[in-house]
C-alpha cells in the first residue's frame, strides 16, 4: 500500500468518493480529501456543492456508492473510531422534550462516554459556553444560538480527536461566531483535528490551515490558504499624473489603466520593472507599487466561474 506511511498522520483520507441520490442527483463525483492530524481543514463550496453529503458519508449517515479511505486510520464506520469523533450536523434539531442536561446525558451515553465523565464534562462545557443556567430548561425553548452552542457541547462531550462541524456558525450572531472561532483555535492548540464545512469563506479564512473548494461534487482547488492565494496576484502602480501619453505602451505590456492606477495581472516581477522603466522614461511620477494578493474570496469566485 502506498498510503501506509500517510496513515499515521492523516486524520481523514478519502479517495474517489461517489454518491448519487436516488439514481438521479449526482452529489459527489469522485472527491478526494485528505486532512492531516492537528489541522483545521475547511471544505468550502456553494450551496448544493455536496459538502454536507461528504460529511454525512464520513459520519455514516449517508451511504456512499463508492469509497476507498480511512478516518483516524480505520475504515469508515469503525465504531471504536466513531467514539472518538464529535459531529455537529447542519440544521440539527434536538428532541424538544429533553432538557439540555438530559440531552447531553442521552447523547453521551450513545457515544459510550462513562456516566461520571459525561456528567463532569457536560457541566464543564455548559459552563464554558455560558449555558449552565439553561441546563434544566427544555430544548424546545432554546433559541437558535443556544441550540448551536448545545450542539457544539454535544459534539465535544466525548473529548473527540476529530471534530466534524457542518456550518457551525449558521444562525449565530457576530459574537457567537467569534466564540466559535476562538474555540476552534483552542481545540487545535490541544492537538485536535477539525473538519469544517462552510459556504461562507469569511468563516474559514480566519481559522483554516488548509481549504478544499468543492464545486458540483468535485474538488476544484485544494491547498493551504497561502498556496491558493499565492499565484493569484496583481500589481497596482499608482501614479500622480495623466496617463494618456503612455496608454498604448502600457497596454502593449499587458497592463490596463484605471484612472491614475496601472494594474498588472499575474506574478511577474520582471514585467513590473519593465513597466516602471517605461513610466519613468516618460517622466511619469510613481507614488506607489503595491502587490495585491487575491483574497480567498476572489479565488473562490474565480474557481466558481471556471468550474461552471
Amino acid at each position: 500500500m502506498v498510503r501506509v506511511t500517510e496513515l499515521t498522520n492523516l486524520a481523514v483520507d478519502l479517495v474517489d468518493v461517489h454518491k448519487t441520490y436516488r439514481k438521479t442527483v449526482q452529489a459527489l463525483r469522485g472527491v478526494n480529501v485528505q486532512v492531516r492530524r492537528g489541522e483545521i481543514f475547511g471544505l468550502l463550496g456553494p450551496n448544493g456543492a455536496g459538502k454536507s453529503t461528504l460529511v454525512k458519508i464520513m459520519m455514516t449517515v449517508v451511504r456512499p456508492d463508492k469509497l476507498v479511505g480511512t478516518i483516524l486510520g480505520r475504515p469508515l464506520g469503525n465504531r471504536k473510531k466513531l467514539a472518538l469523533i464529535g459531529y455537529l450536523p447542519e440544521n440539527h434539531r434536538f428532541p424538544p422534550y429533553l432538557t439540555g442536561e438530559e440531552l447531553l446525558d442521552y447523547y453521551g451515553a450513545l457515544a459510550k462516554v462513562p456516566k461520571a465523565m459525561r456528567r463532569r464534562r457536560a457541566a464543564e462545557l455548559l459552563e464554558w459556553v455560558a449555558m449552565s443556567k439553561w441546563a434544566k430548561t427544555c430544548v424546545g425553548e432554546y433559541s437558535k444560538g443556544m441550540m448551536q452552542r448545545l450542539g457544539l457541547v454535544q459534539a465535544l462531550l466525548n473529548d473527540p480527536q476529530l471534530l466534524v462541524l457542518d456550518e457551525p456558525t449558521d444562525g449565530l450572531d457576530p459574537a457567537g461566531r467569534r466564540a466559535v472561532r476562538e474555540l476552534l483555535l483552542r481545540l487545535r492548540s490541544e492537538g485536535k483535528t477539525i473538519f469544517l464545512n462552510s459556504h461562507l469563506l469569511s468563516e474559514l479564512e480566519m481559522v483554516c490551515d488548509r481549504v478544499s473548494i468543492l464545486v458540483n461534487g468535485l474538488v476544484a482547488r485544494q491547498g493551504t490558504l497561502r498556496e491558493l492565494t499565492e499565484h493569484t496576484v496583481e500589481y497596482r502602480i499608482t501614479t500622480t499624473g495623466d496617463l494618456a501619453a503612455v496608454k498604448e505602451a502600457v497596454e502593449r505590456c499587458g497592463a490596463r489603466i484605471d484612472n491614475t492606477v496601472i494594474i498588472l495581472n499575474g506574478h511577474n516581477v520582471a514585467k513590473v520593472n519593465e513597466l516602471i522603466d517605461l513610466l519613468r522614461g516618460k517622466g511619469v511620477l510613481i507614488e506607489s507599487v503595491v502587490p495585491h494578493r487575491f483574497s480567498l474570496e476572489e479565488v473562490f469566485m474565480e474557481t466558481l466561474g471556471t468550474a461552471r
Binding site: 465504531r79 428532541p95 438530559e102 442521552y106
Partner: protein, 314 residues
Amino acid sequence: MQFCALIVDSLRHALDRKLFWILVAITVLVTLMMLSIGFEGGKVSLFFGLVEAEVDSYDPLAASGKARLVGVVIYGLMDFFLGWVGITLVIIATAGLFPAMMESGVIDVVLSKPISRPVLFLYKYLASMVFVLIQAVLFVGFTFLVMGLRWGVWVPGYLLCIPLLVLLFSYVYCVSVLVAVLTRSTLAVILISLGAWVVFSGVRQAPAIFDTFPELQKHHVTHQVVRAVSWIPPKTADVTYLAAKWSNAGTSLDIIPASAMEDVSAAERGQLERSNQWEKEQLEISAFSSIGSSLLFEVFVVLLAMWKFTRMDF
C-alpha cells in the same frame, strides 16, 4: 448503556405526550370502577354500596359463582380494555417514536454515534415494548389487586395478561415500524397499523364463514386457500382467548343469566349458542402454533424494516 439511554429517551418522549397519561387515566378509572363494586351478604353492591343488585348467576353460597363472575370481568377487561381500547391507544401512542427518531437533523447525531444501525433499530423497537410493558403492568397489576383485595378472588393466571398484551402489541407494532421506515410519517403509521390490525383480526375469522355456511365448503380450493392465507398474519384474536384460557375466564355467554335465556326466541338462542360454541372452540387453540406462527410473521416484517433502515440515506 446505549440500550438504557434509548429506552429512557423513548419513555421521555412518550411521557411528553398526552396519550401516555390518558392511558394511565383509563387504568385509574377502571380500577376505581372495579373498586366500587363489592360482594357483600349475598348481594352485589355498586358505586361503593349506593346501589345494591341481585345477579342471577351470582350464587353467594358457591365460591364458583363468584369466580365465574370474576372470570367474566376478566374476559371483558382483556377483550375490551386491553384488546381493543388499550391496543388502539398504545398503537397511537407509540406511532411517533420511530418517525421522530428518523427526522432529519435528529437522526444525524444518533447515527454518528458508535452504534450500528441494526442494533439501534432493535433497541428502539424494544424500547416501545418497554413502554407497553409499563402500561400493561399498571393496568393488569391494579385490576389484579382490586380483584384480590376487594373481592377476595386471586387469579394468578390473570397476570399472564401482562406478557400477552406486550405480545399482542408486538404483532401490530412490527407493521408500525415497517411503515415508519418506509414513510417516516406518524399519521401513515397510525392509519396503516390500525388497518393492519383490523385485517389481521378479520382474516383470522375468515375460515369461520365456512363453518357458518357449510355449503361454501364445496368450493374446496377456495376453502384451502382461505385457510392457508388466514394462517399467515399474526393471530391477534387468539391472544384474547389465550388470556381467557390461562386466567380461567368465562365466555360472553356466561354473563347472560339463565332466566334471560328463557325469554329469547329460538333463533336468537341458536345464534348465541353458536357463537358461544365458537368461543369455546377458540379456547382450545394451541398456544404454541398460534404464537409461533405469529412471531414468524413478526420477525419477518421486523427484519424487512431493519434491512430497509440499514440501507437508508438521511
